[in-house]
């Protein structure tokens, strides 16, 4: 039914060109918005890896994004130096996801029910964080702050040097390095046996199970890996915004990342990232004006995508190219065939 789509491979020349482009961007533009777009791309990549390749659709990926943000904010109040908080912001979401994932996948919970459970986890976090106003709710030196969130925490610094904080253009480069690094890790995962098993699970998990693979363990593992990436994105987002609020756990946040991934293209890695950047830029642009409501535009885009291009632009592009290549090959075959015929004519 669908063209492709196994695990793909990395094209190093494209990767290098892309990296160079991103590295050169600060020469021609300010970096505040591009940093945000790159963070969103990382978030979309985390969901795209899990959803597109292992077929696990989470309706609550914002939970891990938010956990990363909150973990960093809380830890940075208690630990001067920002390296440990950064690592915690990756490890804590991964551990939480491993526990929740094991609970779900060993219980053989799938599709809609999986959606509800992931959604419920996000809602619990959202409700809880909204209710943590007041002095009673504090972790070490950090006050959780309820609806108002945690402002003014120490931002990321150069490892080992707490007074040397990273911001502006250097923060942009840090985010880009994280994004490209996560992309390479995702590629490496998919290039290995692990990734091939994941794709097998996506296509038919019963068959993989009968082949002797421990399907729940694979699903739990990719869920945790994806949550770690989302947590990193959340941590970077917290440092970009310099405040975390319960809004990171909202339904809107979850909806947005789903939309980015599906518009960009399921079953690719580049698609979700480009989707996040394109729609993120659109959102920022729409934010500057008030005539058209933001959610109106996003809603129309999502409906049209599902109805017309349900597998996203990247997939549609790949499919179109394969179709083109096939028809080219056909034409070539037909041409040689005709030529051979005419040569035979001439011989006679």
């Amino acid at each position: 039914m669908s063209p492709n789509f196994g695990v793909g491979r990395i094209r190093w020349n494209w990767f290098a060109a892309f990296s160079a482009l991103l590295a050169a961007l600060p020469l021609v533009s300010e970096t505040h918005t591009p940093t945000l777009l790159a963070i969103w791309a990382l978030f979309a990549l985390s969901l795209g890896l899990m959803w597109g390749y292992a077929g696990i659709l989470s309706f609550g990926h914002a939970a891990y994004f938010g956990l990363g943000a909150y973990t960093y904010a809380i830890a940075s109040f208690n630990i001067e130096e920002s390296t440990v908080p950064l690592l915690l912001a990756i490890v804590v979401p991964a551990l939480v996801a491993a526990v929740i994932g094991a609970l779900m996948f060993y219980g053989r919970i799938s599709d809609v029910y999986l959606g509800v459970m992931t959604l419920v986890v996000t809602l619990i976090l959202n409700r809880f964080m909204n209710a943590t106003a007041g002095d009673a709710y504090r972790i070490g030196n950090a006050r959780l702050g309820g609806f108002n969130g945690i402002p003014a925490f120490p931002v990321l610094n150069v490892p080992g040097d707490p007074s040397n904080q990273i911001y502006g253009t250097s923060y942009y480069y840090l985010v880009i390095i994280c994004l490209l690094g996560a992309y390479l890790i995702a590629r490496a995962i998919l290039a290995n046996a692990f990734g091939r098993v994941l794709v097998g699970i996506r296509e038919n998990d019963l068959r993989m199970e009968l082949n002797g693979y421990n399907v729940p363990a694979y699903k739990t593992a990719i869920f945790a890996i994806s949550a770690a990436m989302a947590g990193l994105a959340g941590c970077l987002f917290a440092n970009w915004a310099e405040i975390v609020t319960p809004g990171v756990f909202s339904l809107g946040q979850t909806a947005e990342v789903l939309i980015w991934v599906i518009v960009g293209g399921l079953g690719t890695l580049i698609g979700p990232m480009l989707g996040a950047v394109a729609l993120g830029a659109l959102k920022v642009a729409l934010g500057y004006q008030t005539t058209v409501d933001n959610s109106l535009v996003l809603g129309i885009i999502l409906i049209l995508m599902v109805l017309l291009i349900p597998r996203g632009f990247a997939q549609a592009f790949v499919a179109a190219r394969q179709h083109f290549a096939q028809s080219q090959a056909q034409r070539r075959r037909a041409r040689t065939h005709r030529r051979r015929l005419s040569l035979q004519e001439a011989d006679r």
Binding site: V112, Y113, G115, L251, L296, V297, L302, M305, V306, P310
Partner: protein, 288 residues
């Protein structure tokens, strides 16, 4: 003693509330295996229809019990024809498309009514239980929920339409072979589900006040109630509404409303883990 009565009334109200806002979603999910994520916005539209009609001088009961369901039912019909009918059998795609629809509706309502809260006063005065002041309108909500559940049960169980509907639920192709067009049944079911959501929105409007984004408060609760309930429309909705409503209110009274809501969500997690097909997938199997 008074306190116990108050707690009991509040528990009943919460159960009624959950049953009311879940009914429309439950019908659509139970019959068609379609999760309508724009359900919360249908409820919201019912509320706006009620308020707009009552501001125009129409009797508020007529507005909430007739105008709201009709308006939202028509909207549901349009949505089914334009979007949902292309996506039957693709459960995830339906969820995504209706999520898009929910954003679209929020945007539209914001454009039309503005992003400000509107409200309409509750038409029934409060009353005293001992030292406690109670909302009289809550009793009306409970009555409507009981009537609604009873009505749905009677229709599904004892009418020709209900028979065909239950048949379509069990095996659409058999019903089709017997001469009923499943597409028509699906269209009517979706319309009926939307109308019920509109009714819920209308009935709840005097209690909650309205914002374009209010649907988000309904969808999560309704979604959890319906999915945890499982495929049987009435037994599922009733059993999980009763369970969640009781837990939510008892824990709320013992601590804070937020902890109450968290307890309800945690219970949903546990139930789904133990009964992945929903409560009626395990218990009350042969119920409606």
């Amino acid at each position: 003693m008074d306190y116990a009565a108050v707690v009991l009334l509040e528990v009943c109200y919460m159960i009624a509330f959950l049953a009311l806002i879940s009914a429309g979603l439950a019908i659509v999910f139970g019959m068609m295996r379609v999760i309508n994520l724009a359900h919360g916005e249908f409820v919201m539209l019912g509320g706006y229809a009620t308020i707009a009609a009552s501001k125009a001088g129409i009797n508020i009961y007529f507005a909430m019990l007739v105008i709201a369901p009709v308006v939202v039912g028509v909207i549901g019909l349009v949505v089914e024809r334009l979007i949902v009918r292309f996506l039957y059998g693709r459960i995830i795609d339906t969820m995504l498309a209706t999520w898009g629809l929910s954003l679209l509706l929020i945007g539209l309502v914001t454009l039309i009514f503005g992003n400000t809260a509107v409200s309409v006063p509750a038409p029934i005065p409060g009353y005293q239980v001992g030292r406690y002041q109670m909302g009289g309108y809550n009793l009306f909500v409970i009555a409507i929920a009981i009537l609604l559940m009873l009505g749905m049960w009677l229709v599904l169980r004892y009418t020709r339409v209900g028979l065909v509907a239950r048949g379509a639920m069990q095996g659409a192709d058999v019903v089709a072979a017997l001469g009923h067009n499943p597409k028509t049944i699906y269209m009517l079911t979706f319309t009926a589900g939307a109308a019920l959501s509109g009714l819920a929105g209308g009935v709840m409007a005097p209690l909650t006040g309205l914002l374009p984004s209010v649907g988000g408060a309904y969808i999560a609760k309704a979604f959890i109630t319906v999915i945890t309930g499982g495929a049987a429309v009435i037994a599922g909705t009733l059993s999980t509404s009763a369970l969640f409503g009781t837990v939510n209110q008892l824990v709320s009274f013992a601590s804070t409303p937020v902890i109450g809501e968290i307890a309800m969500l945690a219970l949903a997690l546990v139930l789904l883990r133990l009964m992945p097909q929903g409560v009626t997938g395990r218990l009350f199997r042969n119920s409606t």
